[in-house]
């Protein structure tokens, strides 16, 4: 069970290593995780993504690799926690609200690229 989900720092390290394994002088630019300080990443996909990064870096004509992580569902629902703190810093009162956030879908990153290998399962599968 320990390996069912990967620690966020381990996920990031693994992705960089997938590049460094073949090209010590190249790096991987990862965007979209900046707002996360603590998270567990799905292990099942972690291995496949490592594999995809390695495959991409070894592709002829590819000079650099970038990874962008965006929400698969472009409207995400979030809980908003409005906390009232007392003098001692303890939460004395709270109001819970909800906010939906709209995000771009992948077309915004792909521009006119036509060589797209979509390996995502249909929504609802993992």
């Amino acid at each position: 069970m320990k390996l069912m989900h990967t620690k966020l720092p381990d996920f990031i390290k693994k992705m960089h290593e997938a590049v460094h394994k073949h090209f010590a002088d190249r790096d991987l630019n990862i965007k979209g995780l900046e707002n996360l300080s603590s998270a567990k990443m799905q292990s099942l996909r972690t291995g496949r993504i490592e594999h995809a990064v390695e495959e991409m870096v070894l592709t002829t004509g590819i000079n650099q690799v970038e990874m962008v992580i965006i929400p698969r569902v472009p409207e995400t629902m979030h809980t908003v926690i409005i906390k009232g703190l007392g003098e001692d810093g303890e939460v004395k009162k709270a109001i819970l609200e909800v906010i939906n956030i709209l995000h771009c879908t992948e077309e915004v990153e792909l521009h006119d690229c036509n060589d797209i290998d979509d390996r995502r399962p249909v929504i609802g599968r993992h």
Partner: protein
């Protein structure tokens, strides 16, 4: 060779106002004439537009409702969003649900009495069936930067975060080659948008969540700021007034059968028609009062205008839209053709 025709408002500026994405209007009759299916036609049109785009497909023989419950002829039956010529396969397009007429639906949604009275036999479309969505997002389609919301009446570019409001009456004017009003929404429209009616598969809500006399916004004086500084393309006040008068003449009572939006209240007040003041909830009053619509103002006796007199003064008597200018649709849209 067949031709697929559509209307386009290009991303850029109209007067001093920003149009944040390309806006496309398609008549289902033109799709039939092209020989394509509706989905293929929308895909074909999207492939012609490199920038972000919102797409509305209309059945001009069908009917729909405004958010405050006014029934009008001409309905959006499909919406899409595209970017870089592509429509997202999961979230890029949605069909509106056709509603079946029944005494039960009229009983649940009293504003639909207009259906039999004014538009008997016509097909009705508002929003999509939530069961047809991949996942329960709101009534939105998104592809890349383009987001087409609330059943194709609010469109935006998610990267620039600029938005434009396209209430259904304005879109119908575009389809009918009439005249539109372009301006900033302002506080009155911001409040008015919240004065909805209860609808199953509605333009904004999939369930009958907010009834006439209530406010969906429910946030007091903040309601006037929610959609205040947004460019909008709307019908002229005269066209809006005609639609509201038709509803009033079909027996609709503001606050009871149809929403208590500032526009509806203004028409009813000046024509001396019944308004269900007691059914308008305190939360709705709070928002109306914040933009100068008090219960006292509605109760003050004044000279009743005829419909013709009101229509002549509609620009003056219906509030809403800041710094507007009128524009003929023929000067606003480009008619485009694709050879099929």
């Amino acid at each position: 060779m067949a031709v697929l025709r559509y209307k386009l408002i290009s991303e850029g500026k109209v007067g001093k106002y920003t149009v944040p994405l390309n806006i496309i209007f398609v008549d289902s009759k033109d799709i039939v004439a092209s020989g394509l299916s509706q989905d293929d036609a929308v895909t074909k049109i999207a492939s012609q537009i490199q920038g972000p785009a919102g797409i509305s497909v209309f059945d001009m023989e069908a009917v729909t409702t405004t958010s405050d419950g006014i029934m009008v002829q001409g309905a959006i039956i499909k919406m899409a969003a595209s970017d870089h010529g592509r429509i997202n396969s999961d979230f890029g397009r949605l069909d509106m649900a056709e509603m079946e007429y029944s005494p039960e639906i009229v009983s649940e949604e009293p504003h639909l009495k207009q259906w039999q009275t004014l538009f008997s036999g016509r097909r009705l479309f508002r929003g999509p069936d939530p069961q047809k969505k991949v996942i329960p997002v709101h009534n939105v389609v998104i592809s890349g930067r383009a987001s087409n919301n609330n059943s194709a009446t609010e469109m935006m570019n998610i990267v620039t975060m600029e938005e434009i409001l396209l209430p259904i009456l304005g879109q119908l004017e575009i389809m009918n080659d009439g005249e539109v009003l372009i301006g900033n929404t302002g506080g009155v429209i911001s409040v008015g948008i919240g004065m909805t009616v209860a609808e199953k598969f509605g333009r904004v809500f999939p369930t009958r969540q907010f009834r006439a006399g209530e406010t969906a916004h429910n946030c007091g004086e903040y309601a006037q700021t929610l959609k205040k500084e947004i460019p909008c393309i709307v019908a002229t006040k005269r066209t809006l007034a005609k639609a509201i008068i038709n509803a009033l003449n079909a027996g609709m009572v503001p606050g009871l059968h149809i929403g208590c939006s500032p526009a509806v209240l203004s028409v009813a007040k000046y024509l001396g028609r019944e308004i269900d003041i007691d059914n308008i909830k305190d939360s709705a009053w709070e928002e109306l009062i914040s933009i100068g619509f008090s219960k006292k103002w509605l109760q003050v006796e004044q000279k009743v205008l005829t419909e013709a007199q009101f229509l002549e003064r509609a620009d003056e008597l219906i509030p809403g839209v800041d710094e507007p200018f009128k524009k003929k649709v023929s000067e606003l849209v480009k008619v485009m053709e694709i050879n099929i």
